[in-house]
Symmetry: C2
Subunit: 373 residues, 2 copies
């Protein structure tokens, strides 16, 4: 496949950058935030609204789709895009993370993982070959090598074992991958150990992927340690390939990672927060179901141009949450995704305009000033 990523802007003062990733379903401008559509739907919002919001790409979970409806169903209709009716880009994770976090793990060794489904206890095995087969059936534009993730804290021994196994699996995934219209990303592991991270980055890049993810972060470690690991890994990642920090979506963390050279992000937080009545604003989070909003007829975020803020009041949103109405989840999800998409648009604009550092400083100071929790 021809070079899929083009770097357009390289910030002079930081590692921040902006580019374009070409996929079989259109271009993705980076830095980009990818909402999470676990089971083939971004929770509480329909595909036409995602498109209106400017979502360029979102992520589906191979683990969930393998269990339900099964990749063979998705393959039969012609892939995920047709199954879920989404014509823009999609990414699937390998399923590894869910195996470790959701399933009942039966056995893990160099061959792969055996686990019981969190739904019905049925026994499943995922090997690197199987992870590729599932994701080639699902046909997302970007697919991920199988990796082993360790939690925090973990012993160096565990971190090293998982990192080496991830490398072995990365090579096997590379060999098993033969799709012409998908991109395959490798994943850097190594816990919070600098040496392991460096080794993982160097050797993963040697295998030669279409892009590189930094995995195993945002699993409970202090933020400073996460930023440090990005700094350690980044110099090893080729500038002409996209870099993807998995599972990170806190607005400030995203900006901290952008300024350290990361291009892609995914996280359930904006959508999960929304369903818990927690709205993102430039000044931090707001719990919209609080009593103080009962007679507050201002928009949830007066600075926001989203459908929710342009049409509804804090009092109405609070009412919807207090009465348990489904519309509460939808309106809050629209707002939070708009916030993230707009944030990334502004990030790209600042990079193109040569004012990245100013933008970054202003956003981070304004957000954290008012941010509690």
């Amino acid at each position: 496949m021809a070079q899929s990523f083009t770097l357009l802007v390289d910030d002079a003062h930081t590692r921040a950058r902006s580019g374009v990733l070409r996929t079989a379903h259109g271009e993705v401008e980076t830095p980009v935030f990818m909402p999470v559509g676990t089971q083939g739907t971004v929770k509480a919002i329909a595909q036409d609204r995602l498109k209106e919001l400017g979502v360029q790409i979102f992520l589906c979970n191979a683990y969930h789709l393998h269990l339900r409806p099964g990749e063979e169903v998705v393959k039969e209709i012609g892939g995920l895009h047709r199954f879920i009716s989404w014509e823009r880009a999609l990414l699937t994770d390998s399923g590894g993370f869910q195996v470790f976090s959701l399933a009942d793990l039966v056995r893990i060794d160099d061959r792969g993982v055996v686990f019981r489904s969190h739904l019905d206890g049925s026994l499943h095995e995922i090997t690197p070959q199987k992870a590729m087969a599932i994701q080639m059936d699902l046909r997302a534009d970007i697919i991920m090598a199988l990796d082993q993730c360790v939690g925090f804290p973990a012993s160096v021994y565990e971190e090293k074992l998982a990192m080496e196994r991830t490398l072995r699996w990365a090579r096997e995934c590379r060999e098993a991958f033969f799709s012409s219209d998908q991109l395959l990303f490798g994943i850097v592991q190594g816990g919070v150990n600098e040496d392991l991270r460096r080794e993982s980055a160097r050797k993963t890049v040697e295998i030669d992927f279409d892009g590189y993810a930094i995995g195993g972060l945002s699993v409970g470690e202090p933020k400073a340690l996460m930023y440090q690991m990005i700094e350690v890994v980044e110099p090893f990642l080729p500038v002409e390939k996209p870099r993807y920090l998995m599972g990170v979506g806190h607005p400030v963390s995203v900006l901290e990672a952008v300024t350290r050279g990361v291009d892609m992000f995914d996280c359930v937080l904006p959508t999960r927060n929304a369903r818990n009545a927690c709205l993102l604003t430039r000044r931090g989070k707001v719990n919209i179901d609080r009593l103080e909003f009962a007679r507050d007829f201002r928009p949830p975020d007066p600075e926001c141009q989203c459908y929710t803020c342009q049409n509804f009041s804090r009092a109405y949103l609070r009412h919807l949450f207090k009465t348990g109405e489904i519309l509460a989840a939808e309106l809050a999800t629209i707002h939070n995704l708009y916030f993230m998409i707009e944030l990334m648009r502004n990030v790209r604009r600042a990079l193109r305009g040569g004012c990245w550092s100013e933008f970054y400083n202003q956003f981070v100071s304004q957000y954290e000033d008012h941010f509690s929790g």
Copy 2:
């Protein structure tokens, strides 16, 4: 207030008719189906989609809004339209039906009803005067007199008592009502007793309302009895005023009532069915979560032009229901409301085109041929 209803078409062979009802928030073409937005939201669908679907008017429940958020909150922002961001017409029921069906009834007499909230057990009283005050605060375009509804079966004594009390309350509501931009409808009661229904209709019309509802039907009685009661009442209702059959939304029942001279309908069924995976089609109901649809990649209803049927497959809808995703409820609600709105558009078109009987016969035979349950 000037005459609010204009009759445009009077079918030559049946009692069916078509007209326009003018409200402070636009015209409503009849016959019309009004979705139910109990707590100030039609469940699982946002206001912009309702507008796109062509919803001209929907109903909110005064009982629910009185308890939460309280009519004083709604009044403070300037009424329901502003509170929920809906610029077209709205109707509120009086709350009477919910007091009898949901609340814990403490006392009922000619003065009014005392009940405990189904939410927190708190004690409330609703009198005719209070029902008017609440609904004038909520400021829907059409509001309803307080009535007493009896179930089925009920003794003639109960039916008579409730009918007479409803008449007394109707007079008191008429006196307590002083809003210039709202319409007040009276409600005909009388159970399934022909004489009581006639008396109720005659005396309610004497009080002089802007429109007349037929209440206390669709409460468990055989359909034939419901149709009979409509036929008994209809000759007493002035042709120049709209007639509203409360709580009826089964497609065939709606058509049976239209052909007997009814103009307006409301029902939770299309939206409640949707959330239970039950889709309405011209051939009857379809439970879209059944196993047979797991690999069925056709649209839910191939004849339907709604967003759901134009974009998604039966297999995807089934997947969304089986995985408990919120999008399932939204997509099914869009479809079912589209079905009802489109049905009523076709009803009006048939009436204007002078082919009502043909339309009615064809729809009813096609629907019931395949309808089971």
